[in-house]
Symmetry: C2
Subunit: 324 residues, 2 copies
Amino acid sequence: MELGASVAIVDSSVQGCGANTYNIAPSRDRVLLIPLDIGDAADFASEIRAADVIFNLAGEISHTQSMRFPERDLDCNAVAHLRFLEVCRRVRRGVRIVFAGTRQVYGRPQYLPVDESHPLDAVDFNGIHKLAAAQYHLLLSNLGELDAAVLRLTNVYGPRMALDLPWQGFMSVFIRAALLGEPLQVYGDGRQLRDPVFVDDVVDALLMAGAVERLPSRTYNVGGAEPLSLADIAACFAQAGGRSTVRCVPFPEGRKAIDIGSYWTDWSLIQRELGWQPRIKIEDGARSTLEYYRRRMSHYTDAPATEPFREARGAEALEPAAAR
Amino acid sequence: MELGASVAIVDSSVQGCGANTYNIAPSRDRVLLIPLDIGDAADFASEIRAADVIFNLAGEISHTQSMRFPERDLDCNAVAHLRFLEVCRRVRRGVRIVFAGTRQVYGRPQYLPVDESHPLDAVDFNGIHKLAAAQYHLLLSNLGELDAAVLRLTNVYGPRMALDLPWQGFMSVFIRAALLGEPLQVYGDGRQLRDPVFVDDVVDALLMAGAVERLPSRTYNVGGAEPLSLADIAACFAQAGGRSTVRCVPFPEGRKAIDIGSYWTDWSLIQRELGWQPRIKIEDGARSTLEYYRRRMSHYTDAPATEPFREARGAEALEPAAAR
């Protein structure tokens, strides 16, 4: 919107996925909010027809929830995208779409840092289904039906994340604990590497992929400035919070099996081709994240930290693998 | 059955997928036929519980149909498998499953012959969904829930294929034309390489992967003895039939985009680890295939050679990409 665009947001606000209208309160009167699932794209086809660029950020990001409710994950992360893209190509052939993919499609890294040529070997249902959705975008682009870019994102953090959905990843858990002065728990020895990337950097990457006249490539890795151990990341947030300690604890049962070990992004392709690079250091990102939340905690922790989706289709048939 | 096993067949006999009870007529009284979809596995859980080995051969193999009806392909090739495996791991944890995967997951070869490390880059919906299904098998095996092998099959041919389903691939089209004395049409210049593998060789590979005590790997390529041009393959069947010619014709519209160029399998891994190799040469395979059909044509060409699935879920929303 700051760049002068008219913006429409499509969000079905599924419980447990982090939708929060407070996040768009500052611009609520200037944005069109379409409260639908992207799979029901036929119901907002006229908005798609009018779009210059589509940022497809929809989906469930939880690895652990995908293991408990695989068919729900399939619905959110593959079926809905197939339906959405089918409408896009029908009413707005050739439209630029920037899809928020995930590093999860690479699975356990076979080498570091991970570039776009790294073998694909997802270690959970979430990775399998996100890969299918990314491939839909690429396939339809190869056919000339769409003009898509897939950004494979590492762990994204920053203001406006849900803090009451621990299954959405460790960053929100760290942030919440740092804000509440609780200990930050790290699984294992805490030496696994990650490269969290600040949300403003990701927004830049999305905009660049959306605005560039011609996409030199279709798949780009997007990650943080440098690899950090989980213990160091935790320490950084604990320090920014000022009241927390960091503790190493054993992996919860069933969690180790889908852990990917160390991960670290080679983002040189998007740097070379689109001029993007991460600019926010973790210390600054942690500080500004906590600053954002300090006066607004009630907007992000009101919801009960319970698990949703028990009633999801197929859920009754699915025993959690982790529970055995 | 020749090896002494009790065999149950699960087949929903979906129109257009090649099910033909004539194929099992010789052993009809010794096999349990379960006329259900694998996605309804809860309804035959007791048979799964009793299984020593499961050969998961279910699915739609048509690339072109997947492009016309992607959501139907998703249902057949991913959703049904997710539901099936969920029941398998619940009632028969750790069971050996041999899954009939496809070379299609590799997409256009980046090098030849294609080994199991080749990058995955499906060029059609069929490849995307077959990959998801293969990954379900591998994921659940990594978690210790199943003990699966995925065979990535090249073009399989031989007795008992449907001959009235041209969208299932060029081999059945060649066989039908050779039997009827019609010209065999090859797209493009006919120099694209393929390595068709005779069905008896594939059955051997399936049995070996099912019977081996411990699987050294989980993914194996299975292909023919040598690479042959499409023109040579066509000539071989034309000669075996004795009445046909071979013609090069331009690619039909929309077909070129999902063609993968030349493909040729590196099957040295399964040779090294399981002792399998293709034994039937194309000349012998072509001859015995045509011999099989000559006295049985009416059992394989009775069905009208029309397209099914027009009423498939979502079909009304899907314009064929190829039609534009």
